[in-house]
């Protein structure tokens, strides 16, 4: 646990979890595979919103890690073909969701490594 925390601190400078280039890639992938249900602006309807109050209540309650979010997306999404994207594509989508929810961009990309992502607890930004 202590090692994991240390690793997280070194992997992500400050609060930055992804890069701008990565979230831009994620946005493209999101619009192709996710927007039909979650909305072009992540606003939801008919599926769950991925931004705003709903995202804060559902994910940023202090009980969810970044890996929880990544796990649900990679194992259950896209709804019609779960697990059909690459790990990197899923990580890019997570980066885009973080950007939309005001998490700052940095110099290091988010890598699809559960051990690292488990050390980040999601919180409102």
């Amino acid at each position: 646990m202590a090692f994991g925390f240390f690793l997280a601190a070194s992997a992500f400078a400050g609060d930055a979890l992804y890069t701008t280039a990565q979230s831009a890639r994620g946005e493209e992938t999101y619009q192709q595979y996710c927007a039909a249900c979650h909305g072009t602006r992540l606003q939801g309807v008919p599926a769950a919103p991925l931004t705003g109050e709903a995202f804060r209540g559902r994910w940023e309650d202090g009980k969810h890690t970044l890996d929880d979010l990544y796990y649900i997306i990679r194992s259950l999404m896209p709804n019609n073909a779960p697990g059909s994207l690459s790990k990197a594509q899923y990580a890019d989508i997570v980066a885009y969701i973080l950007k939309t929810n005001n998490y700052p961009a940095g110099e290091v990309e988010l890598v699809p490594d559960a051990a690292v992502m488990k050390t980040v607890v999601l919180s409102p930004h």
Binding site: P46, R58, H64, I72, L76, N79, A81, P82
Partner: protein, 529 residues
């Protein structure tokens, strides 16, 4: 007592017992089967969905037309089962309850529920109210339940009946019987440990509770392997139970076990998931049970425990219960001997005996196949049951571990759907006494809406495309079709006001994965010119 004192006494009584003078009384509810209004979500306690109205017939139904529409301005799932009593229709959305004129669609009153805290976010919907003694009762997504004065919409009481922190949401129409409100939480794959309970109609205080997933030491607990596997074991209540009024037996349909696809996490038959559970309605004591899909690994809930009726089989009268499940089978079971008379496949079945693997197994029905939340309609006149069903196969995969993430689906696997073009639906009509198929209607999309049969040999239902269907019950021919612009996946009812027959249809959104025609929650009323 002088006049002033009498007046004070009358006012005081009215304040103390709001709506008590109003119905429906227990006697009226007991005889809802012969009512030409719509007093319970499936018309009557037995869930027969047959109305003795014959003005609309196969000969004249082509001249049906919409006479009014009510727009609920709500984009959540439109799964409402309207109730019509004393010339008033009651419908709900997630937060709102409306009293409508069932002929003009004009709003008489509206009540708005403000959530009191965390809302369980699995399966967000509300199926509607129940009515008795001038009171309406309904549940909410935050686990609260409340009663309204049916005349005014004024709130009478509210109780925290379920725990949204444990992912429990109250979505079904409650069942009201004598002085009890019966309700339980839905959301089997969202971390729920299921139960059904009774509360006092007078004030909502708890009376009894039956655990659909047993606690330690309760019968059935031994069918789960480790005790921990029961903590989020599912077994939600998805549909309003049926009731044998004469015997006081409650027929409860219990939902699927979780994690849905990972059977190794819960070795055993997993009672009382996917089972019919028969309880003493007054005490909650278990009388008997029958499991449709033991140790389910495909999310094949058993949501249908109605209609209850008396069938003439082999020259003998038998009291029967209908059991239908997402496994695509409709079964007729003797309520006395508990033996099955027949089972009929109402959707494609393939590889049903194979559990999901990590590589994946192509199986029919799929995750949302077979018979969903709408029960069969039963026409005693035609000795016929008509059941809606879903054909949508796909690949089930399991994961190597069960991982629960709060507020998310607890599947322990995944499902890859066949392309939407391959999805379709069926209405299957069977001879109720034999199970012999009489006719089938094929829809281009899954069939989810409720079905209503009438003494005029009509069937009323709807499609995911938004088409309302008026059909000849004798052969399944569509006599009238009308597209109102939103998926029809909830209530379709027929009733009379001042001697004239009407049909009301709820349309709007289906859950996103159905890929139905989108729309705002709307009630459209149809009638002959």
């Amino acid at each position: 007592m002088d006049k002033a004192k009498i007046w004070v006494a009358v006012v005081a009584a009215a304040l103390a017992f709001p709506g008590h003078a109003a119905g429906p009384t227990q006697d009226e509810l007991n005889h809802a089967d012969s009512s030409t209004e719509w007093l319970l979500p499936n018309h009557d306690y037995a869930g027969v969905r047959y109305v003795n109205l014959d003005q609309i017939t196969p000969e004249n139904a082509a001249s049906l037309r919409p006479v009014c529409a009510f727009q609920g301005a709500d984009l959540n799932r439109a799964l409402n089962n309207p109730i019509v009593y004393a010339g008033v229709m009651y419908v709900t959305t997630l937060y709102s309850t409306f009293a409508l004129d069932p002929v003009t669609c004009k709003v008489k009153w509206k009540h708005e529920w403000k959530p009191k805290g965390k809302e369980a976010n699995g399966s967000i919907k509300n199926r509607g109210v129940a009515i008795k003694d001038g009171r309406l009762v309904r549940g909410a997504q935050d686990g609260w339940m409340f009663a309204l004065d049916a005349k005014t919409g004024r709130q009478l009481w509210e109780v925290k009946a379920a725990n949204a922190e444990k992912y429990e949401a109250l979505s079904i129409n409650p069942l009201l019987f004598e002085d009890l409100v019966i309700i339980g939480p839905s959301g089997s794959e969202f971390g729920v440990k299921g139960w059904i309970g009774a509360f006092k109609l007078e004030d909502g205080s708890p009376v009894w509770r039956f655990n659909t997933i047993p606690d330690d030491g309760e019968p059935g607990a031994e069918t789960w392997g480790e005790a921990d596997s029961r903590l989020k074991g599912g077994g939600g209540i998805w549909t309003t139970p049926a009731l044998d009024v004469a015997k006081g037996h409650l027929y409860v349909a219990v939902g699927n076990p979780a994690p849905d696809m990972l059977g190794t996490a819960r070795p055993g038959t997993n009672l009382y998931t996917n089972a019919i559970v028969v309880l003493d309605v007054r005490t909650g004591a278990l009388l008997w049970h029958k499991q449709a899909v033991p140790h389910d690994t495909h999310d094949w809930d058993m949501p249908v425990t109605a209609p209850l009726f008396t069938a003439s089989i082999g020259g003998q009268q038998h009291e029967v219960v209908t059991m239908a499940a997402k496994d695509g089978l409709m079964r007729l079971v003797d309520r006395k001997t508990r033996e099955e008379f027949y089972s009929v496949a109402v959707a494609t079945r393939k590889n049903t005996d194979l559990e999901p693997t990590e590589e994946g197994v192509y199986t029919c029905p799929g995750l949302v196949g077979g018979v969903e939340w709408s029960i069969p309609a039963y026409s005693p006149k035609l000795d016929m049951m008509v059941v809606p069903a879903v054909d949508w196969c796909g690949v089930f995969k399991k994961e190597d571990e069960a991982r629960f993430v709060a507020g998310q689906q607890y599947l322990g696997g995944s499902f890859t759907w066949d392309p939407v073009e391959k999805s379709s639906g069926w209405l299957t009509a069977v001879k109720a006494s034999t199970g012999e198929e009489l006719w089938r209607y094929h829809s281009s999309r899954p069939m989810l809406a409720s079905v209503t049969a009438t003494s005029g040999d009509m069937l009323f239902t709807g499609e995911l495309t938004g088409d309302f269907l008026a059909m000849d019950a004798r052969n399944g021919n569509v006599v009238y079709r009308y597209n109102g612009g939103g998926a029809i996946v909830g209530g379709v009812i027929s009733y009379a006001v001042e001697g004239k027959q009407y049909v009301a249809v709820v349309s709007g959104m289906a859950a996103g994965f159905w890929l139905g025609t989108p729309g705002s929650m709307t009630v459209t009323v149809f009638a002959l010119p």
